[in-house]
């Protein structure tokens, strides 16, 4: 019982810590929504009046407690830019971004295993190939996006160069609009993840029981499935959780670049207009997703480590 509760408590504490970081980051940005919302030349008095109207004139600690109290009640507050509920803005864009991240992960995960397995095995025997992954992973999403757009849209004319969702539709109705954004996110993630997986693969394939199995002439696929894969499950889920965090970060760039209406582009413009309730809501959502992913990977590690299993 107590053991089952521990990850929950730890998750809650981490989330609370994340809320402090998120709030401090928005508070430290120079300028505020009231200053950006008034027209140029407004007097200090007018700025103060608007700040008061927006409920942003209290002390920072007060704003923080009000905000977290609201979060616990499920109230994300209202936007400082257009006075609409933040929850509406987030829910409106959540499906688009969830689809983008989900597809990217679905595409990147098998690629990680295959590439990681190949590079890991290669490293164990000859010590090469990893350089390809490291180099590939170092290419930022924005470059991949530009390259993919130039090739698939510019040269081959297969898909549109921007991903405008027709109003009122879900992205899965328009798979052609997802190709470039998903590719731009999945490719660097797959290489990055494969780099991490290859390390685990290299460790595993040099274990005595694998070396022994190979020496006894068992088929490669059987060794991979029975002797290697179980050892990879825990590191692989952790890599997936970390990759999900990276993917969330990449949406800010990729969505803006392709005009894709998701949470990433919402975050970018909310930061620019100092719409702190929106910034905080999106950032907390991202933090919660990453923490949940890490918690799941911990649980997987606890439950599946073959070394701790009685054969």
């Amino acid at each position: 019982m107590a053991r089952g509760l521990r990850p929950l408590v730890r998750g809650a504490l981490l989330l609370a810590a994340a809320s402090v970081v998120v709030f401090a980051a928005t508070a430290l940005l120079p300028g505020d929504a009231a200053q950006l919302r008034v027209s140029p030349g407004a007097t200090d008095e007018q700025v103060r009046a608007l700040r008061q109207e927006l409920g942003q004139d209290a002390a920072p600690w007060r704003l923080y407690t009000d905000w977290t109290a609201g979060l616990l009640r499920g109230d994300l507050g209202t936007s400082l830019v257009n006075d609409r509920p933040v929850l509406d803005a987030v829910l409106q864009r959540l499906p688009a971004t969830a689809t983008l991240i989900g597809l990217s992960l679905a595409l990147a995960a098998p690629a990680m295993l295959l590439l990681g397995g190949w590079a890991g095995a290669a490293r164990a025997s000859r010590g090469a190939a990893g350089a390809f992954l490291t180099g590939g992973a170092a290419v930022p999403a924005v470059v991949v996006a530009a390259g993919a757009a130039a090739l698939l849209s510019g040269v081959l004319d297969l898909v549109p160069a921007v991903s405008l969702l027709p109003p009122g539709t879900h992205p899965v109705h328009h798979p052609e609009l997802l190709v470039l954004p998903v590719l731009s996110m999945a490719l660097p993630t797959a290489l990055f993840g494969a780099g991490l997986v290859s390390g685990a693969v290299a460790d595993t394939v040099s274990r005595p029981h694998v070396v022994d199995a190979l020496r006894r002439g068992r088929p490669l696929w059987s060794v991979a499935a029975v002797d290697v894969l179980p050892f990879l499950l825990a590191p692989f889920t952790r890599v997936l959780a970390v990759s999900a965090g990276g993917l969330i970060a990449a949406t800010t760039i990729v969505e803006t670049l392709f005009g894709y209406p998701g949470l990433g582009s919402l975050l970018v413009s909310a930061v620019a207009s100092r719409d702190t309730p929106v910034v905080q809501a999106v950032a907390m959502l991202a933090a919660a997703v990453v923490l949940a992913g890490l918690a799941v990977s911990d649980a997987v590690a606890d439950g599946t480590d073959p070394r701790s299993r009685a054969w």
Binding site: P167, V172, S265, S269
Partner: protein, 506 residues
């Protein structure tokens, strides 16, 4: 392979649950039967999308939507002159030009069926004035407490001082909403050429308002999409996902100049990045230094580099597209004379300045760099400091003594009220000339249009010669359209918002 399989799988799932799967890359499915639709990719950050037409409107996409959903009192035409819209006539009562009788059209109807009355108009004007802090004090020339409703379609508007340009003051942004719409966080009924069908923070779908009093023509359906990235807007048109891309960069226009599928439409005088010199701060408090800066610039090179030729050189005249703008000689570069002026001003050893700029708009930073190179040839040592766009308008603009501003299509009278009167809220050049101020008020108290225009033109000329603005040129506003789009507005200022008669064929 895997990706396609995945997408196909998703399609299959979707097909089973919902409407189905769009096959090709063309999003205008079934366009043959569909009503004529104009898809406009406009400048806008979706997170800043607002439903309130009277407060802070940061997005061009919102302005476009408002001007199609709501009627305004007057509009500016292609030549920059005021034309009636919801207001049929505006006439002064008495000689002092402080009391104005406004006559409204009688056939305007809100989308909920209620007629548009003088009560709605006065309510809307007061609401706009009440949000003055957010909208640049747009109607601050009026005393709306003393203004009254004089009949179902008649108003008496009172101005604080004689104000001959009431027609212009009521132009373009006086969106009329039903009386009692105090809180506009969701769209309210309008009486404009279109009605709202659906909207989220990125895209609004509008359909033709059959009840609208105005002329027919134009499309049946309008989709306005907010897109912050200029290159993405252009790509949207190039790939057939939009019919119009608002405000793209000159480099993009050049890229499509030879294209058959994409057309470049220019709006002269759309943007300008004047240098601002604070005439109350060292060394610009000396008129000779200001003069030296003005003649040391190579304006042709600036227009060529910053706007890639999509623009005109300026001779420091603000709002040069006004019908009353003076005919002034071009400013010819004279580096030697600039050096002499500096010497006479006691700066024989040269001057060191810091020029502030930002990259809010394409070309601002390039302007600063090129200006710095050009001024160096006249012995003015300029260090360029590029600040972040988020804080530029609060920390540099109207604060520093030498920086690059961005002006687009403001009317001269409105701009002068804000920036050239000693008590103007954005008097960034510290312009305080008693005679000039007096003449400005005289102009606004002059009923005769020709006489008034000549006075206003002269005021513009004096600022050009002596003021702190270096209007070295103006760039065209550049829109891209798909072929088949006709009638996109190209006039000055807010003329660009009048897209109700744009046609799409093919």
């Amino acid at each position: 392979m895997r990706r396609q399989a995945l997408l196909a799988g998703l399609c299959a799932i979707t097909l089973a649950t919902a409407s189905g799967c769009a096959g090709g890359t063309d999003s205008g499915d079934g366009a043959a039967q569909a009503p004529a639709t104009l898809r406009y990719a406009a400048v806008g950050a979706p997170a800043a999308t607002t439903a309130d037409p009277h407060g802070r409107v940061g997005n061009e996409s919102d302005y476009l939507r408002f001007s199609m959903l709501y009627d305004v009192l007057t509009v500016i035409d292609e030549q920059g002159t005021v034309q009636p819209r919801l207001a049929e006539a505006w006439e002064p009562e008495g000689d002092d030009l402080t009391h104005w009788h406004i006559t409204l059209r009688q056939d305007a109807v809100f989308s909920d069926g209620a007629p548009v009355t003088a009560d709605d108009v006065l309510f809307s004007l007061r609401r706009i004035q009440g949000k003055g802090a957010e909208n640049n004090g747009r109607l601050s020339m009026f005393d709306l407490e003393s203004s009254t409703v004089a009949g179902e379609h008649e108003l008496e508007l009172v101005t604080l001082q004689p104000y001959a340009e009431v027609g212009a003051a009521l132009a373009s942004l006086t969106f009329v909403v039903p009386e009692g719409s105090d809180d506009i966080t969701e769209p309210v009924a309008g009486s404009g050429p279109f009605v709202l069908e659906t909207a989220d923070d990125t895209t609004a779908v509008l359909t033709r308002n059959d009840q609208w009093w105005g002329p027919g023509g134009g499309v049946e359906r309008l989709e306005i999409t907010a897109m912050p990235d200029a290159a993405a807007r252009a790509s949207a048109v190039a790939s057939g996902q939009a019919d119009v891309a608002g405000s793209v960069a000159p480099a993009t226009a050049e890229q499509y100049a030879e294209s058959d599928e994409v057309e470049v439409v220019t709006r002269p005088g759309g943007v300008g990045y004047p240098l601002v010199m604070d005439t109350t701060a060292e060394p610009f408090d000396d008129p000779e230094v200001r003069e030296a800066v003005k003649i040391a610039l190579d304006r042709d090179a600036l227009v060529e580099t910053v706007f890639l030729g999509y623009g005109q050189t300026g001779a420091d005249v603000l709002s040069a597209s006004e019908p009353f703008a003076p005919d002034v000689d071009p400013v010819v570069r004279d580096v030697e004379r600039a050096r002499e002026l500096l010497e006479e001003a006691g700066h024989g050893d040269g001057v060191s300045l810091t020029l502030h700029a930002t990259n809010s708009y394409p070309g601002m930073e390039e302007t600063a760099v090129l200006v710095s190179e050009q001024l160096a040839e006249a012995g003015i040592d300029v260090e360029v400091e590029v600040g972040p766009p988020d804080t530029y308008w609060t920390e540099v603009w109207n604060v520093e003594s030498f920086y690059i501003n961005s002006l687009g299509g403001n009317g001269f009278v409105d701009f002068a009220r804000m920036a050239l009167l000693p008590d103007g809220p954005i008097n960034e050049t510290g312009w305080d000339d008693e005679e000039w101020t007096e003449d400005f008020h005289t102009a606004l108290a002059t009923a005769d249009q020709d006489e008034r225009y000549s006075l206003l033109g002269d005021l513009q000329r004096r600022i050009a010669e002596e003021g702190g603005y270096v209007v070295w040129g103006s760039g065209d506003g550049i829109d891209l359209t798909a072929s088949g789009v006709t009638g996109l507005p190209t006039g000055p200022g807010f003329h660009r918002l009048r897209i109700e008669e744009v046609e799409v064929s093919g």
